[in-house]
Amino acid sequence: MTPGKHSGASARAANAGAWGYRGWWTTPQLVATMPVSPAGSHKQQNFGLNNATQPKKSISFFATMKATSVKGYTGANQSRMAVSKTVLIPPELKTVEKTNPSIKTTQVFDINGTDVTPRPLYHPDPLTGTAKPSKLLTSQEGSLGSEFISSYSLYQNTINPSTLGQFTRSVLGSSTVSKSSVSASESIAEDLEEPSYKRERLTSFTDLQVIRAAPEKIVTKEDLEKNIEIILTETETLRFFDLPTVMVSVESEEAEKVTQRNKNYEVLCRNRLGNDLYVERMMQTFNGAPKNKDVQCDKIIMEDKGIMSTAWDLYDSYNAMELVSLSVKQSVVESSSKANVLPKDQDQRLPGSTTEKNSETSSLMDIENVILAKIHEDEEDHSDAILKSDKFHQDLFFMERVLMENIFQPKLAAYRQLPVLKEPEPEEPEDVLESAKHEEVEEESKKEEEEEIHAEESTIPANLERLWSFSCDLTKGLNVSSLAWNKTNPDLLAVGYGHFGFKEQKRGLACCWSIKNPMWPERIYQSPYGVTAVDFSIGAPNLLAVGYHNGTIAIYNVRSNSNVPVLDSSESPQKHLGPVWQLQWIEQDRGTTGDDKREILVSISADGRISKWVIRKGLDCYDLMRLKRTTAASNKKRGEKEKKDEALISRQAPGMCFAFHPKDTNIYLAGTEEGHIHKCSCSYNEQYLDTYRGHKGPVYKVTWNPFCHDVFLSCSADWGVIIWQQENVKPSLSFYPTTSVVYDVAWSPKSSYIFAAANENRVEIWDLHISTLDPLIVNTANPGIKFTTILFAKQTDCLLVGDSDGQVSVYELRNMPTVLETGAIDIQETIIKS
C-alpha cells in the first residue's frame, strides 16, 4: 500500500504498516494506521490491537526491543515528535471501537499520577478517512493540557501531511518504542495487562510527546538498567482482529508474488521522491475571498508655491506681528472713512512693506494691503489719492532737488568747495539724504574743478565768479532788501524783498531759499508791505522774523508750510510806526529776570525806537502771544536839535541799523539817519555811551569786525565806508570809492582784512592787507540794476549779492590771496599806519 493512500481497512493498513515499518521495528505488528490524514493512513488505529494480538513472546521480545530501540530513537525522534504530534491517540480507542466495541476504556496515568487519559480526539468517518491534522492536535491539547501543546500545534501547522505520514510512522515507531518504554516502566508495574500495556503505550506515547525530554531520558536510562519484569498471563483467545498473515514462506506459492511485491514496494519507497505518481497535496485554509473595493477621492490638487526668503522679508514678518494689532485697529477705523487716506497711512506705518502686490513675499501687512487695496474699486480716486498724498509731495520735492543738482551741479560744486565734512543736520524741512547725496556727487566733480582752480590760480587775479542766482518769477522786479542765513542750516537763506524808498513801495515778499534749489524758494511769505528786514532766530532756527515797511514785525515758522505768521506785532500797541530797518535776534543774559540766556528780538525802526521783543511762552507755542516788549533803549541824540524820548515823539532820529557787540551783548551800536553812530548799552536806555561822528548821510550799515572786536565798519549814503575803532570817536579809515550810495557792507568771515561793500552799481571787495586805497575786486553790475545787499557765506568763499531786480546772485571769490586768520592786532596797526 502506498503511503499516500488512505486506508480504510485497518487490516490493510496494518499490513502496509507492517510492511512499511519493517525497517523500523522488529515486530510488524507495531504498525498502526491513522486515518487522520491520507499520509497518516499509517496511523495506527490498530496499534493497540496489533499489540494485543501479539503473542506473549513477542511482547517480551518487544519489550526488550523497546528498551534497546529507545536509545536509538529517542534523541533522533524528539524533533520528530515535535513535528508530528499527530501520531497516536485515539487510534487505540478507535481501533477498539472499530474492531471491538467491547473494549473497555482505560485510564492512563502518567508519572505523577495525573490522569492523562487521552480523550478521543478524532472520530473519523471510517469511509472518508480524512481528517485534519490540526484538529487532531487541538483536541489533543484539550485532553492533555500540557505546556508544550501549544508549541506543538504550531509545529503541527507546518507539517506537510505527506511527511507527516512519514514522521508519524517513524515517530510512531520510535516514540512508541520510547514512550512505551517510559510508560512501560510505570504502567507495567501498575498494570500488567496486555491491552493496558498497549494502550498505555499509546497514551503514554502522547504523554511522551507532551512531556518530552525529561522523563524520556530518565526512562531510557532506567530502562536500560532495569530489567523489566513482565508477567503475562494468557487469556482466552479472543478474536478481535484477524490479521492475515503477512509472512509467507519462501517456498509457498505466493512467495514470489510477495517477494516481488516487497521489492516493488522498496523500489517504490525509494522512488517516492520526485515520482510523478506521488502527488503532493496541500491543504489550504480557506481565507475569505478578497473583495476589492474602490473608492474614489477628490482629486488632490497640488500647487507649487515658491517664496524667496529674504532677510527683509523675515524682518517684516516679525515686525508685522507687532504692528498687526495697531494697524488692524487703525485700518478698521479708516476703512470706514475715505479710502484715499488708507494707502498712505499704511504706507507710512510699514516701512518695509513691498510695493508690488503680486510679489511673492509673505509679509502679513502686504497681504492686508492687498485686501484693502482691492476694496478701493474706484481707480480714479486711487490715483488722485496718490497725487494728493504727502509722500508724493515729498517725492516730488526730492525729485526737484535732484534735478536741480543735476542742473546746477558744477556751480553747486564750486560753492561747496569740496567740503569733506558732512553738512550738519538741519532743523529745517530739508532733505538730509539729499544733501548727503549732494556731497557725494559733488565731491567727484569738485576734485576736477579744484584742480582747475589750482592751475589757474597763479595766473588769474582774484575775481568774483558768478555761480548762480536765486530768482524766480515771483521775485522779479522786486528789490532785495535784506539777506540772512539760517543759523543752523547753512544752506537756507532768507531773503526779504522790499523797496527802500517810500514812493516805490510795492508788495513785499520774504522767501526762504535753499542752496539746493536755486530756482524756486522753499517758503514764500507774501505781504502787501515791503519787507525791510529778515533774520533767523538762533535758539529756534525755524523762526524767521520779518520786518515790514509799515513797522510790523512778523515771526514765521518756516517748518510749516503755512503762510500765516506765527506771531504778528501788527496788533501790538507798541509796534513800530516806521519801517523796521533791521531785525536781529540776540541772545542775552537776562540778569534781571534771573533766567538763562534768553533770546530777544531787537528791532530798529524809523520811528526812532530800538525795541526788544520777547516771546514769553515757549518758542514753539502756537497760540498767539502778546509780544511784550520793553524798550531797551531809546536813542537820544546828543545833538542840539532833536531829542529822543521813550515816548513816540516825532522828533526822534530814525534808526537805520544797529549792531551788537559780538562779545558783550549789552553794548551795541546804532546808526541813525543823521549819520551818527551811537554806542549804547542795554542797561542805559536814556543815554549813549559814545557817538561816532563821521558820516554825513544816513548810516545804512554798521558792523563789528568778527575778529577784532574793537573795530567796526559802517557805510552810509554819503558814498563812504568808514572803519572805526571803538575807542576812537573819529573815523580811522574811510573809503570813498565811488559816487554812489553804499547800501551795504560786510566783513568777511574768513579774514579780518577783507570786507565787501555794495554800491549801487558795484560790488567791491577790499583787502586791507593788500591795499587800503583800492578794492581788491570790483564787480560791476548790469546797467539798471543796483546792488543793494551783500552777505558772505560762512563756510565757503562765496558772496551773496542782492540787487534791485529781485535776484540774489552767488559769487565765488576766486583766487583770493591766502590770508592769515589772526588779524586783530594787525588790522589795527594797519589802520593806524594808514
Binding site: 494707502p343 504706507d347 518695509g352 510695493t355 508690488e356 496718490i386 516730488l396 526737484e400 535732484v402 534735478l403
Partner: protein
C-alpha cells in the same frame, strides 16, 4: 493749484527734463508727459529694477529702505522715486 501740482509743473518745465511720469503700482500712468507706450515701458522696466534695488537694500539691512534710485546713462539720467503705491519717474538730460 495745489503745491503738488505746482511742483510737478515746475519739474516738468525744468531745463533738460525730457519726461515726467507718475505711475501707480500696476503700471497705469497717472500723470505723464510722454506717450503711453513709452510710459508703460518705463514703468514696467523700472518697477522691476526698483523692486530689485529695494530688495538689495533691505537684505543688507532690513531696517533700511530704498528712497531714491538714479540711473545714469550716456544720454540721460533716469530718476525714480519709488513708493508703495506709485512710481515717480523723471528723465533728464543734464546739460554738461
Amino acid at each position: 493749484m495745489t503745491p503738488v501740482e505746482e511742483t510737478l509743473k515746475r519739474i516738468q518745465s525744468h531745463k533738460g527734463v525730457i519726461g515726467t511720469m507718475v505711475v501707480n503700482a500696476e503700471g497705469i500712468p497717472i500723470r505723464t508727459t510722454l506717450d503711453n507706450s513709452t510710459t508703460v515701458q518705463y514703468a514696467g522696466l523700472l518697477h522691476h529694477l526698483t523692486m530689485k534695488a529695494k530688495s538689495t537694500v533691505r537684505d543688507i539691512d532690513p531696517q533700511n529702505d530704498l528712497t531714491f534710485l538714479r540711473i545714469r546713462s550716456k544720454k540721460h539720467e533716469i530718476m525714480v522715486a519709488p513708493d508703495k503705491e506709485y512710481l515717480l519717474i523723471v528723465i533728464q538730460n543734464p546739460c554738461e
